[in-house]
Symmetry: C2
């Protein structure tokens, strides 16, 4: 498996997910930055495990991986009658949707595939499968374009000489090509705006150290790595002008669920008068969730906190809390940068208006 | 060296520093919690290296180690005439004082030894050395007692059922016996008050994961380890009622220099209306430093951020910032818990009054 060639995207970064000759491949992000390794996904169980193990991660990427992953889960059922095949599409989608509870995009991508399948009048399961392949590729292509558009709208926020703080990885590796939080950075960099990025390392799984700092460095952007607890000091020194993060799910009132630590950064930004922005595909907004209180917070394995890499760094039998996400209240958010433009407070009203005019 | 027996203190925890038969020993804290290992200090250079490498760390412990370390640096000069010996005392103290720039206690302990030496009228260098040994032991004993008194005053702040957050290790391992930030916890625990402690792991060097959670666990206190970036989430969930940290140096206006990340915790506490206390020996207050702006912030090796244990976790050649401390402005501090009692705002006035009545 070690020699799988990895295609490059338009930013000259490795693709995170690709569909090639009827097979799904993922970049194994757990091995970055030490090794750049692709892995073929042979079963839906493997896809689910890859999602759980964060080999593929980031809300939009999980949505795309879910759509392709469903194909992996049904490709051997193409001999079934259409009705049975359709039942299989639904049950496999429901099963894969449970891989991670907080990310709304996984269920979104799977729901779109299921509804697309229902709307078809295919003569055979084989034909329906081929149409579903086209739909998954469309989801992927749309994600590429909307990520780029997030950056087109968000780039105006980054002024020459700015310091930009980001948390976790809502980058190219988390999405398709431009990322979400990173997309304004990539577009500003393409526009030759000079700026600095500070990347929180993002304990426990170090997405900032391993992924964000790596992909920005690869793309030639001036990036400096810090530990999570240095952000306040940098802000106090005037090094940070704007914070941009991603989100795994945003409620209808603008409350933002994202990687643990995001709320802390937002509170610090408010304290220092620094605007805190969230970049996201419009699909990440969960209009069925009135506010952030209802968003389930995944609790992760304690070993992610007690170990670093393979090495134990805490006492045996120590008690641990390990929430994977927190919910940043909407009053801390300066704006939601979407592919449709920047949505400003009051979010409840402005998101409802957006919903009314353009749908979910 | 692996079989050096380590004496226990009154909390039944390993001593961090001990003077035995004319020799100085340190617990090598860099090996905790995986191994409990003592190390004899044969030269002043070794003591300086041990301080730099954080084998001994924590402001009060460094002060004690400095006093004993000076003895190590002059013990082979006892054959010199008293005047030459005294010059050697001063030069060795000045040299050892440079091991860490931020900690005021190191210079404080050394200055006390030098001034004590100057005040003696010893007939021989040998006699003066013996008097200095007694003075170092006195500094150590006084540190034990004042740490315990910090806890006696601070314990009243911990109510039954409270959640107490602490950052870094201002514990038994950082001081003599009761610690500073941990002393109210140890005293409350001795008083059979039930409470929970949440320990920030404290990147980059994980003093919370390796040391605080270990020593509290050893002492039978209910302690839960979290990553630094989880504190805001715990506060939002109502799990934290009080924050207590230590300090490496506190300015005359109550600005608090402490381990990087402390200011962030203080800002979060303010946001959630949680009182933020700092526990410290009175000697940690630097009356020559009018406010925190003048406190030098040590910049540590970038590898502490890019590596975890021996393992690289960040890209090659990534830019890094690694400030070891930050300065929490006095308006975020609810009180300074000292061996003399709890000093409340306004700090500038109340610290001046304390200084005027009782001296530095």
């Amino acid at each position: 498996m070690a020699d799988i060639p990895i295609p490059k995207n338009r930013l000259n970064l490795p693709e995170t997910i690709w569909w090639d000759e009827g097979e799904l491949f993922l970049l194994d992000q757990t091995q970055l930055p030490l090794a750049v390794v692709g892995e073929r996904q042979d079963t839906i169980e493997q896809v689910s495990d890859s999602i759980k193990a964060l080999k593929v991660r980031g809300a939009p990427a999980i949505g795309v991986a879910g759509a392709y992953g469903l194909l992996v889960g049904i490709k051997n059922d193409r001999q079934l009658p259409v009705g049975d095949f359709m039942a299989r599409v639904e049950s496999q989608a429901a099963w894969l949707g449970e891989a991670r509870p907080t990310a709304v995009n996984l269920k979104w991508g799977l729901k779109r595939m299921v509804e697309f399948a229902k709307a078809q009048t295919a003569a055979s399961s084989r034909e329906l499968y081929d149409l579903l392949v086209e739909e998954a590729i469309r989801i992927h292509d749309e994600d590429r374009e909307l990520c780029r558009m997030v950056g087109v709208h968000g780039a105006e926020l980054i002024k020459p000489g700015n310091g930009v703080l980001t948390h976790c990885n809502a980058g190219s590796l988390a999405t398709s090509e431009f990322g979400t939080a990173t997309s304004p950075m990539y577009v500003a960099h393409q526009n030759k705006v000079p700026f600095k990025v500070y990347a929180d390392e993002t304990r426990p799984l170090l997405q900032g150290a391993r992924l964000t700092s790596w992909e920005l460095q690869q793309a030639g952007i001036d990036v400096t790595l810090i530990t999570d607890n240095m952000a306040a000091h940098l802000m106090s020194q005037g090094l940070i002008d704007i914070v941009i993060t991603g989100t795994d799910r945003t409620a209808a009132n603008g409350d933002v669920a994202n990687k643990i630590g995001t709320m802390g950064v937002a509170i610090l930004a408010k304290h220092f008068g620094i605007p805190f922005y969230v970049a996201l595909p419009y699909s990440t907004i969960d209009f069925d969730m009135p506010d952030g209180k209802g968003i389930p917070i995944e609790e992760r394995d304690p070993e992610e906190v007690t170990h670093f890499g393979m090495r134990r760094t805490a006492p045996e039998n120590i008690q641990v809390l390990s929430p994977a996400f927190d919910v940043t209240p909407n009053e801390l958010v300066a704006g939601l940068i979407t592919e449709r433009g920047i949505i400003r407070p009051p979010f409840k009203e402005n998101l409802l208006r957006e919903y009314a005019t353009k749908g979910a």
